[in-house]
Structure formats: structure tokens, C-alpha cells
């Protein structure tokens, strides 16, 4: 097993990966940009190496600097997290060349999957159903228009180089094509260092259902069940759950088998996620394989009891999977809500800033994967994800109610978060019924505004708080009850005859 692992990421996922590494007795190395000196992942690591200035290209995307940091700290493996270089085959190759284990799939599988277009083709060859679409290395306005009309509007422009909603645009009419293409292209270039765009027919309100797979170097492979990720805003997942309310054991087995087959077709090893769209007729289509740890992996951990990061590390170290499909019995229900730095009252504008106060929910069945703390300043340069709240329950309704309770107790002041929006979604009758698809938010929440029902109560609290707030809170809490004096205080007084 590795003695020390460098985590080439930041925020909540770097913190979460380091937790498992520490529990495995493995030393942790953080890397960080100049604005992240006080970021939580730096404070959690055993060692930390500054990569350089804030822009990702000069820090978290700089392959050479990261390999160098691993060398200098004698880290024998690198965990890439999600985003940044996690799906970049050049990075994986660079690790290989430097004699450092990359905790993820082999470069060749990554090369295939990094191109969403090439992987589409491979899947089709292996009999995994795909959505009608078009590719080109030389898009121009004419070609965009021709292909879009062939597929029929609306169409989706997608980044060939990566997922997660970056570099993606829905287009409803030919007139919007050029603008949408250049925006998507720019975003893709910035996010993945690759501006290649492809086009797909937009399915009408499908469900987004993905399967977690694990494959080891010995040829063993299993799936850990599905995640339903249909609650998306602007192609960005915000609530995920498992199991999916419409999968029966038979469809689950069929899709799960297809997922493992898809991964094997790509020569995949380690943890990966096979994304499908599921239409109203329960037909499923391959979307892509996310060749990395997924943001929403904790809900699978909650229902399977398996630490996916630990499995990643073990697989990378050459250990056998030690899991058999027939023994895997996901249990109960888990939901994840993503907490972004965004303002739900102002069209979800990203809102960096300083967190003045923070109280994260706790309790049985509640897990919070967080990259923030009170006093932390959320920088403008990176992804707006701050934390994830995960709720487990014996069944969907228990998990849902637990999540509502948890969100009601999630207090972050000084920045904007979508917590009240998330809660409103969870309380929506169609969500309660399990009727979720990718059209859910546009359909029911297009005009949502925070209810702000307790304005007068907030006013009273603000008006009265200064009357009971102690003068210096941190140094000497002075509760209402008399404190017991320490021995020297009491006896000091007593001896001096003062009392």
C-alpha cells in the first residue's frame, strides 16, 4: 500500500479523499493555489505544497507543477478527485511516466472516454444503446444548422472533453446556434482545456440514471446500483438519490450489466460512473462514462456501506476487489443535496465571499462533505460547490424528511446558498411522489423565489440579539449559571479572607 498520496484537487472532495487516506494510515499531501492558503483541504493535509497563482491553468491544471510536488514530497500516488485534471489522460500518462500511481483508470481508457464522441462510438459497437447525434472537428454556422435540422430541434451542444454541465447548451432554434456554440466552446476550453463540441438530439424530459461501477486489475467488476440525478438546473445536478424510484430489480440488473459491459468495453479499471438517460418508456441510452470519482458518490456509499475512495486506493495498489455482485445488497434510501455558492433569489448567480457564520447539520443518518468553515473566503476562481449534505433513511420518505430537517438546520451567513430552494424542491408534491425527470426544475421551479415567511421573526431576533450577546464570546463564555471557580481561585480568596 502507498505510504503517502498527493490529492490533486481542492474543496470538499480533497477533504473527503484525505479522510479515507488518513483512516488507511496513508500520509496526505495537499496542493493549493495562492488564494487557497487557508482552504480546508490545506488545513486537513499532513503536508501542503503551493502550486502558484489562483488561475487554474497556473495551479490545479498545471501537470508539471503537480508531478513536481509529488516528487518533492515523495508521494507515490496521486488522487485527482473530480474536475480539474481528473479525466485528463495526459495527466494520467505524465504520472505513469514519472513512476507515480494515478488513482484512476489507465490512460488508454481515459483517452477513449475523455472524448465523449469516441466513447459513444465504442459503446455503439458493443451494443450499448446511444442517442442520435452528430460530431465534427470543424463546426461552422452552416454545419451546425444542417446537423441540427437533421436531428430536429431542440438539440444539445456538449463538450467532447468533459461533463458536469460545463460547455453545454440547449438550442431551440437555428438563430441561437452560433452564440450557443461559441459560449459552449469557450466554457469547454476553460474547463477542460479542450473546446471540441458535439451535438445530440435533446430527449424530452428523460431521467438521468447513472450506475457506479468498480473494476479491479484482475478483471473483476461489479456495479453498486444506480443513482437518479434528474433534478438538474442548467444541466447541473443539484439533488441526487438512490435507488431510482422507477427501477425494478429486473431493469436494474439489465442496466447494471450494461454499465459493467460498457466499462469493460472501454478497458476501464477503478471506480467509474456510467451515465444513462432513461425515457418515459423505460428505454435507456448511454450518455457517457465519468472516468473518476463522482460528486454524488456518497449516496452509493450510504446504501451499500462501501467506502468508494478506499476501493479506489486499493484497486490502484493492485488489490483485488473482494466484492461479488450477488452479495451486494444496497439497503434503504439516500439523497444528496449540493450546496453551491449561489443566490437563488437572483437567478442563481455565483456568489463568492466570506462566510461569517456556519452551522452544518449533524445527526443520525446525516453526512456533510464540506470544504468550508466560518471565516473562510470562497474564492471566485473555482467551482462554486461548497458542500454536500447526504441523508440516509430506511426508505425514501424517511430519507427525504431527514434531508428537510438537515437543510432547515444548515446555516451559512455572509454568503448566499440555495438551501431554501433545495428544501422547496424536496417538499414539492411531485418530488414526494418520486416523479422526477430532467424537466422537473424548469417545469415547477422556473419562477421560484425564497418565501421569506419569517421576516418579522428575523427582525425581532436582530433587534433583541444585542441585548443578550456577551461582550467577548470566544475567550470567556459567561453562561447564566455561576461557574465553579477553580481551586486556586477559591482558595486564593479564602486565604486572603476576602470571602
Amino acid at each position: 500500500m502507498f505510504e503517502k498520496v498527493l490529492v490533486a484537487n481542492r474543496g470538499e472532495i480533497a477533504v473527503r479523499v484525505m479522510r479515507t487516506l488518513s483512516e488507511m494510515g496513508i500520509g496526505t499531501v495537499a496542493v493549493y493555489s495562492e488564494v487557497d492558503e487557508k482552504a480546508l483541504h490545506v488545513l486537513c493535509a499532513d503536508e501542503a505544497v503551493c502550486l502558484g497563482p489562483a488561475p487554474p491553468a497556473q495551479s490545479y491544471l498545471d501537470i508539471e507543477k503537480i508531478i513536481d510536488a509529488a516528487w518533492r514530497t515523495k508521494a507515490s500516488a496521486i488522487h485527482p478527485g473530480y474536475g480539474f485534471l481528473s479525466e485528463n489522460p495526459r495527466f494520467s500518462r505524465a504520472c505513469l511516466d514519472a513512476g507515480i500511481t494515478f488513482i484512476g483508470p489507465p490512460p488508454r481508457a481515459m483517452e477513449l472516454l475523455a472524448s465523449k464522441t469516441a466513447s459513444r462510438r465504442t459503446m455503439a459497437e458493443h451494443g450499448v444503446p446511444i442517442i442520435a447525434g452528430a460530431e465534427s472537428g470543424n463546426w461552422d454556422e452552416d454545419l451546425l444548422k444542417r446537423e441540427a435540422e437533421k436531428l430536429g430541434f431542440p438539440v444539445l451542444l456538449k463538450a467532447a472533453g468533459g461533463g458536469g454541465g460545463k460547455g453545454m447548451r440547449t438550442v431551440h432554434a437555428a438563430s441561437e446556434l452560433a452564440d450557443a456554440y461559441s459560449a459552449a466552446q469557450r466554457e469547454a476550453q476553460a474547463a477542460f482545456g479542450d473546446g471540441t463540441i458535439y451535438m445530440e438530439k435533446l430527449l424530452s424530459a428523460p431521467r438521468h440514471v447513472e450506475f457506479q461501477v468498480l473494476l479491479d486489475t484482475q478483471g473483476n467488476g461489479v456495479h453498486l446500483g444506480e443513482r437518479e440525478c434528474s433534478i438538474q438546473r442548467r444541466h447541473q445536478k443539484i439533488i441526487e438519490e438512490t435507488p431510482c424510484t422507477v427501477l425494478d430489480p429486473e431493469l436494474r440488473a439489465t442496466m447494471g450489466e450494461a454499465a459493467v459491459r460498457a466499462a469493460r468495453a472501454a478497458g476501464y479499471v477503478n471506480a467509474g460512473t456510467v451515465e444513462f438517460l432513461l425515457d418515459a418508456d423505460r428505454r435507456f441510452y448511454f450518455l457517457e462514462i465519468n472516468a473518476r470519482l463522482q460528486v454524488e458518490h456518497p449516496i452509493t456509499e450510504a446504501v451499500t456501506g462501501i467506502d468508494i475512495v478506499r476501493k479506489q486506493v486499493e484497486i490502484a495498489a493492485g488489490e483485488p476487489l473482494g466484492l461479488r455482485q450477488e452479495e451486494l445488497r444496497p439497503r434503504g434510501h439516500a439523497i444528496e443535496c449540493r450546496i453551491y455558492a449561489e443566490d437563488p433569489a437572483a437567478d442563481f448567480m455565483p456568489c463568492p465571499g466570506t462566510i461569517l457564520a456556519l452551522k452544518e447539520p449533524v445527526g443520525p443518518g446525516i453526512r456533510v462533505d464540506s470544504g468550508i468553515y466560518a471565516g473562510y473566503t470562497v474564492p471566485i476562481e473555482y467551482d462554486p460547490i461548497l458542500a454536500k449534505v447526504i441523508a440516509y433513511g430506511e426508505n425514501r420518505e424517511a430519507a427525504r424528511r431527514r434531508m428537510v430537517s438537515a437543510l432547515s438546520g444548515y446555516a451559512a451567513l455572509g454568503i448566499k446558498t440555495p438551501v431554501s430552494y433545495l428544501r422547496a424542491i424536496l417538499e414539492h408534491e411531485e418530488f414526494i411522489r418520486g416523479n422526477t425527470d430532467t424537466g422537473f426544475l424548469p417545469r415547477y421551479f422556473a419562477d421560484w423565489k425564497p418565501s421569506q415567511e419569517l421576516v418579522l421573526e428575523a427582525l425581532v431576533l436582530a433587534a433583541l440579539a444585542p441585548r443578550v450577546r456577551p461582550a467577548a464570546t470566544i475567550q470567556a463564555p459567561s453562561p447564566d449559571r455561576a461557574q465553579f471557580p477553580s481551586p486556586f481561585q477559591t482558595l486564593g480568596h479564602w486565604r486572603l479572607g476576602e470571602t
Partner: protein
């Protein structure tokens, strides 16, 4: 003792008196600026206990709330009942409104800190109200800022890759002589 606060668009006057057994008697009046139109919105018997840090327990007519209050640059940030509220003392509120009027209505200013990706217009260009004039990126998401009115671009105060923040006037748009906004 009474004090005015602004939440959202509304101004409230809060009067705090002594109630029974250590409780406070709190009366809230809406829109106290127009003295004739004062409306008592609500009266509470309130009990409050400081718990720790920014956490307070509040009982209003017996109903309990566990809330947070912290002073921010714009006013008191309050968390209660699972939602955040910004409670602004009126002197801050006045400046805030002035800023909003100045910044939002006449010029192009980013709503959040970010980096300029693309400037879509040049000085002297005629623009329509709502027309996109500049693209700003924050936290890897792009936003196109629109001109708040029709007119002529008179000044561009920024350039591509510049870091900008709310309040920075990026592009100035002047009404054409003789023309009026709708």
C-alpha cells in the same frame, strides 16, 4: 425604545418594551417613514437566550426558534426557520438604495465578483435596453450583462481578463439627446 430596520423593500419600526417575567414586549410597525400611515404589523411577547457564538434561542409567543445573527458589511445577517434574512439599519439601507439606483439603472456593473471574458461593444456604439454588452465569468460560469437602457456607449472602464466586482461600473451608457427610456 424604537429602531428602524429595512428588510427587502420594506421599512419596519421595532419598539421593544419590558414584558412579564424577563420577557420583552416587541411591537413592529410597518412603513414608519410616512408617519400618518403607521400600521402595527405584529406584537410579540419575546424571550431570547444567547446560546453560543452567533446562536440564539428565541421564543415568540411561546413558539421556539433557534437562529443565528451575525453583523455583516450590509447589515445583520439573520438565519431563522431555515432561511437567511438581511436586516439593514436605515442609514445603511439608504446608501444601499442609492447605490442600486445609481449602479443598476444607469450603468453596467457586475452582480458578483468575476473576470471579464469578452467586451461585446465599443465606445460610440448604440445599444438597446437589454442588449448584451459584456461577458463576465465567476466560478467558471459565464454571465452576459445587459445594458440597463437604450443609448450610446460613452465609456468602457475595463478590459478582457480584468477582475471586476459589484459596484464597478464596467460600461457607461448615456441616453441619446432628446430620447427617453420607456
Amino acid at each position: 425604545m424604537s429602531q428602524d430596520y429595512v428588510i427587502g423593500e420594506k421599512t419596519y419600526r421595532v419598539r421593544v418594551g419590558s414584558g412579564e417575567a424577563g420577557a420583552f414586549d416587541v411591537a413592529i410597525l410597518e412603513r414608519p417613514q410616512e408617519e400618518g400611515a403607521q400600521v402595527e404589523a405584529r406584537r410579540f411577547s419575546a424571550r431570547i437566550v444567547w446560546v453560543e457564538g452567533n446562536t440564539y434561542a428565541l421564543w415568540l409567543d411561546g413558539k421556539k426558534y433557534l437562529g443565528q445573527v451575525v453583523s455583516g458589511p450590509e447589515g445583520d445577517e439573520v438565519f431563522i426557520g431555515g432561511e437567511n434574512y438581511l436586516v439593514v439599519p436605515p442609514q445603511k439601507a439608504t446608501r444601499r438604495r442609492a447605490v442600486a439606483a445609481h449602479g443598476a439603472a444607469k450603468n453596467v456593473t457586475p452582480p458578483m465578483p468575476g473576470v471579464v471574458i469578452k467586451v461585446l461593444v465599443g465606445v460610440g456604439d448604440r445599444v438597446e435596453k437589454g442588449q448584451g454588452v459584456i461577458v463576465v465569468s465567476a466560478m467558471k460560469m459565464e454571465t452576459t450583462l445587459a445594458s440597463p437602457r437604450s443609448g450610446i456607449v460613452t465609456r468602457i472602464n475595463t478590459c478582457v481578463e480584468a477582475q471586476v466586482k459589484p459596484g464597478d461600473v464596467l460600461i457607461e451608457v448615456e441616453e441619446e439627446e432628446g430620447a427617453k427610456d420607456g
